[in-house]
């Protein structure tokens, strides 16, 4: 991998490409500048603030992620799971890369892991009112999983089968179940009952952050952990 790429012959297309891209860049830059002064309709910040009281959370970003545009988030979580399904179908045929941790890494693992779990928990809890939330917390959990993996830790085989897959899918399953709940009460898909909205969103966020963290760590691990099917 350390070899250098051979020098390239220049062709017409090769010479045209920078010109074309410079044109694209210039055009887009002018577009941005034309948008720069706030127009009559500059975003939805006011609408979000106005409707925030009805959502059960006070952080506008969390409200958008899980209430106003919760359906997007649900599908994005499906995209995340899909990537893992794709990776698992691909790497079954690859040589496994097993890590042998050094002492340094082992110590770091012991030091940082509890810290990361605390941070993940805090981010989740804070998400309702301040910056933080399911995705950030899940990201930290995923990073903790990566650190664990680098430290040589592997999921015990008896947990690597359906229990792992249960954790991976739990976020989506709970999200869909909570989304279907209002239909039973004559309301709409994903229209959480106002009285419970805060609690339901926290429930979705907790399972989502677990699932997101597990999925991200599993993506890093690559090959499917061996276990009973």
């Amino acid at each position: 991998m350390q070899t250098r790429m051979p020098g390239s012959r220049s062709t017409l297309g090769r010479r045209l490409l920078p010109v074309l891209l410079a044109g694209l860049c210039g055009g887009l830059a002018l577009t941005i500048l034309s948008l720069s002064p706030p127009g009559p309709s500059s975003g939805l910040a006011d609408e979000v603030t106005a409707a925030l009281a009805q959502t059960g959370v006070t952080s506008p970003v969390t409200a958008v992620l899980l209430d106003f545009r919760g359906y997007d988030t649900l599908l994005e979580m499906a995209v995340l799971l899909l990537a893992l399904g794709g990776v698992w179908s691909l790497v079954a045929h690859l040589p496994r890369i097993d890590g042998r941790p050094g002492i340094m890494l082992d110590r770091l693992t012991r030091l940082y892991l509890p810290l990361m779990l605390v941070v993940a928990g805090y981010l989740l809890w804070a998400g309702g009112t301040a910056p933080g939330g399911a995705f950030q917390s899940g990201a930290v959990l995923g990073a903790a999983g990566v650190v664990l993996t680098l430290g040589g830790w592997r999921l015990p085989p008896r947990l690597a089968g359906w229990p792992l897959r249960l954790v991976l899918t739990a976020g989506l399953v709970i999200f869909i179940a909570v989304g279907l709940l209002p239909i039973g009460f004559g309301s709409l898909w994903l229209d959480y009952p106002r009285a419970w909205a805060g609690g339901l969103i926290l429930l979705i966020e907790t399972t989502a952050s677990l699932s997101i963290g597990a999925t991200l760590a599993a993506l890093f691990l690559g090959g499917q952990p061996r276990g009973d099917p």
């Binding site: 991998m1 350390q2 790429m5 939330g133 950030q136 990566v146 680098l150 993506l219 890093f220």
Partner: protein
């Protein structure tokens, strides 16, 4: 944070230039490892830009994922490349290490290929 003073302008201009420079280095480096390392730096700089733009939610996600996890993934993939034999990234006319059929096979589909996909035959 004041986003309009001359000092703030200087910081922002510097960060923007740094971002562009790191991107150029990450993508321009012919050595993949170097590219990946510059890319991790790019992710960290981007997290700082998000802080400057006062979007802490994104800064958190970027630092954990954009720089941390992506970097780990890329480094692991580099290790994987060494393992599966991607060292031959300079195409040579004679390449004895691997079966030639995979390369001779016509994937562009202009009609010279006579062989069916391997897996379909296998099943």
């Amino acid at each position: 944070m004041d986003l309009s003073g001359p000092l703030a302008w200087a910081i922002d201009a510097l960060l923007a230039l740094l971002l562009l420079w790191l991107a150029l280095r990450a993508l321009g480096s012919p050595v993949p490892l170097e590219g990946v390392i510059f890319f991790i730096g790019f992710g960290l700089t981007l997290a700082m830009v998000w802080v400057r733009l006062e979007v802490p939610d994104i800064a958190l996600a970027e630092a954990a994922i954009g720089a941390g996890l992506s970097g780990a993934l890329l480094l692991a993939a580099l290790a994987g490349l060494r393992k599966v034999g991607g060292q031959r990234d300079v195409p040579g006319p004679a390449d004895p290490g691997h079966p030639p059929d995979a390369l001779a096979k016509d994937t562009s589909g202009d009609g010279r290929s006579g062989s069916p996909p391997a897996a379909e035959v296998a099943d």
